[in-house]
Symmetry: C2
Subunit: 425 residues, 2 copies
């Protein structure tokens, strides 16, 4: 650790960082570490979809002409593939459009505008409502709440999931808290995996709100980065056993399995929730794009097919995560200026820099052509009170660009970190 | 006309109808005239889509990788094809998911939950609001209003569109009337085409509500059944010229052009409306299925390609409409028991039977295995006060089934109609 360094040593380190920085500035970099997008070579893995379902192929297993209207629940054979992946019984799992984000958004819309099972009133008629937001978390989740004027209460994310002492206390006492966001496996952006105990508590905890919902965004269910296929406990099953079947909304999609823009989203829940969902959905849609669902069912085959396909992704992005971690270690290890997560799956690495430094680091990086997700994006309303969390998305750049970008980022951390430390002396 | 027949003649006609009916009952028919679905041979016309965009083909004209996230507005080249078709400037036309119905539904959602351009408040905060519903109309439109508790005020549909004397009077005096449904060309179910004068009045009329919207569902823009390619006036252009650009929401889709379940929906509006729409949509979606849009752009080519494709549809469904009209004429012509529309396009024929007879006709038909859209479906809340309108959807059955079904329907009209007339003597 360098935290005990004197002013002279710090000045030398800062000078060195400044020199590196101005050298980088001269290179005219144009690099982007912002969004969790698959790279082109990952998308290539699913290019078979570009000619599927194939000439004159349009019948579902049950004989349905997928080209025509109908089939609100989505294609049975695709739901069968993803039921075990998402831990939802087939009958309670719907296959929808090209995005799970829109399903989460629409879950709020439906709950705002029509009474949820268990609710006394529509959310829009209940006065101000609140949601728990484990932090760091996913900016697009928070944007949905913000858009509907739903207050978010940040809850610290521990290594085993949200701090359940805080969660259980808050939901027990405040009936205006209507739900919690959760990315239970390889969480965005920390890679956190919810422990079995956390899932059990979420399933069983008493809530003051009778219409409490857990938005279980299982976006990275099969997105492993190690040999360990991490499993999580079955929230819907545990909640059902505990008499709280209706509190669980499960979301998932193939966006980071097949094509990010042209995949299939899924919604799973209790029988009562599904009935409620379909009765609302039936006013909105005559059915999802069943051909795209047939295309996916043909391409993936079964759950094992999904797992096998994800191994190919891992072969492509594993080295990117490894390189990121290696460079962070080489550049920042032992400096005391940063810690970072070492995720076993998912799409992100979280870099934690000294308090008050994240915004500056992101700004300095931008000045030399390295775009990072805005500091604060991992927190509700874009406000990280400690200003210390930076999300790194290693998948989209080429290996070469990624390494250059992480190098540059590390340099910015040293620059800003040593500057701060000198000031504080 | 047989309206002046005596009891004896009527009894003879009724006996004959009864005989026909019981003969039909013995045949064990299983026929369906309910929904406006394309038949399999129409879907076959677009089967090229089943292998498009084609191996290794995923770049949009501007170089975008359509497989990845992004592109909230939808694919430029597809929007260019449909801009002239839907009479909306390309920059103000968005290409979306597989359904225009969901766009109409979501337009209500967004207007309910976020302030429309010109609105003082969100619709959800304005107390009870109302919509004008030209009748006969489309049941799925009415279901959306019903689902959100929006009161519908029926307005008679004349041969030139909604009765504009009623419309202009109501919207001028009642600020709680927030909009009107409109299917301006080959309307569902009457085939009505809005006259230029009607469109001009809709564009120019003063409205008490500053946030009034015309839901312009141009579902049958290119769905001609005759050599005449009927054109309607440009509502968005006229409204813009009249200083009411924001009052127009244009909807359209390829559902009855390519695949009913796997097409592309469109939303067009003023710049301010599009900005409002995208700012809300951006919280919901990272972009539509651009591959399906590329698939469609490749298949259709340009607006002329759309027109040429629709000629193939006409060749398949024109004979079905012709047969329906022929049988109605043979069976019911001169009986005084029914009138019907002779549409120049679209998907439906409206059959009008004597007051109080529609429900019975539909029930009698069901008893002998001919399923019709429920009587009343053409009116808000499923209530046709005259109980006289029956919607016929000729496209989906085979020609043979269709002819048998229309024969049976005509028999039921005679049965119910002569029974009623005898009772009234």
């Amino acid at each position: 650790m360098t935290t005990d360094l004197g002013a002279q040593d710090l000045t030398a380190l800062l000078d060195s960082a400044r020199q590196d920085y101005s050298e980088l500035a001269g290179r005219g970099l144009k690099l982007d570490l912002t969004r969790g997008k698959p790279a082109a070579d990952q998308l290539d893995l699913a290019d078979e979809l570009l000619t599927l379902p194939g000439a004159a192929t349009f019948k579902a297993a049950d004989g349905t002409d997928t080209r025509n209207y109908g089939g609100l629940n989505g294609l049975q054979e695709l739901r069968e593939i993803f039921a075990p992946v998402l831990q939802v019984p087939v009958a309670q799992l719907l296959a929808a459009g090209n995005s799970s984000l829109e399903l989460m958004h629409d879950a709020f819309v439906q709950a705002l505008l029509s009474k949820l099972p268990g609710a006394q009133e529509r959310w829009v008629d209940q006065g101000p409502i609140k949601f728990l937001a484990p932090v760091p978390g996913y900016d697009r989740h928070f944007s949905i709440c913000e858009r509907f004027g739903i207050e978010m209460i940040p809850v610290p994310l521990t290594e085993s999931g949200p701090d359940m002492e805080v969660v259980t206390r808050l939901v027990a006492e405040d009936a205006s808290i209507k739900g919690i966001w959760a990315i239970p496996k390889y969480s965005n952006p920390t890679g956190t995996v919810y422990s079995d105990e956390t899932v059990r508590q979420l399933a069983e905890m008493p809530t003051a709100a009778p219409d409490f919902r857990i938005f279980w965004d299982n976006a990275y269910a099969v997105h492993h980065l190690t040999d360990e296929r991490v499993e999580i406990a079955d929230l819907l099953g545990l909640a059902t056993a505990a008499g709280h079947a209706d509190r669980v909304f499960v979301f998932g999609s193939t966006s980071k399995i097949t094509f990010a823009g042209a995949g299939v989203g899924f919604f799973g829940a209790s029988e009562a929730n599904i009935k409620w969902w379909l009765s609302n959905l039936g006013k909105r849609s005559i059915g999802p794009d069943k051909i795209n669902q047939l295309r996916h069912a043909t391409f993936l085959g079964d759950a094992e097919g999904v797992f096998a396909h994800m191994e190919k992704h891992r072969a492509l992005i594993g080295p990117k995560f490894d390189a990121t971690l290696r460079i962070l270690g080489e550049q920042l290890g032992g400096t005391g200026l940063a810690t970072w997560t070492e995720p076993k799956g998912g799409y992100f690495i979280t870099l934690t820099v000294p308090e008050g430094c994240a915004t500056d680091v992101v700004a300095r990086a931008a000045e030399i052509g390295v775009v990072l997700t805005p500091a604060g994006a991992t927190h509700p309303l874009g406000q990280d009170p400690a200003d210390s969390v930076i999300r790194i998305a290693p998948t989209f750049p080429t290996q070469e660009d990624l390494e250059a970008a992480v190098h540059a980022l590390a340099t910015c951390v040293k620059l800003v970190g040593y500057e701060q430390r000198l000031k504080q002396q």
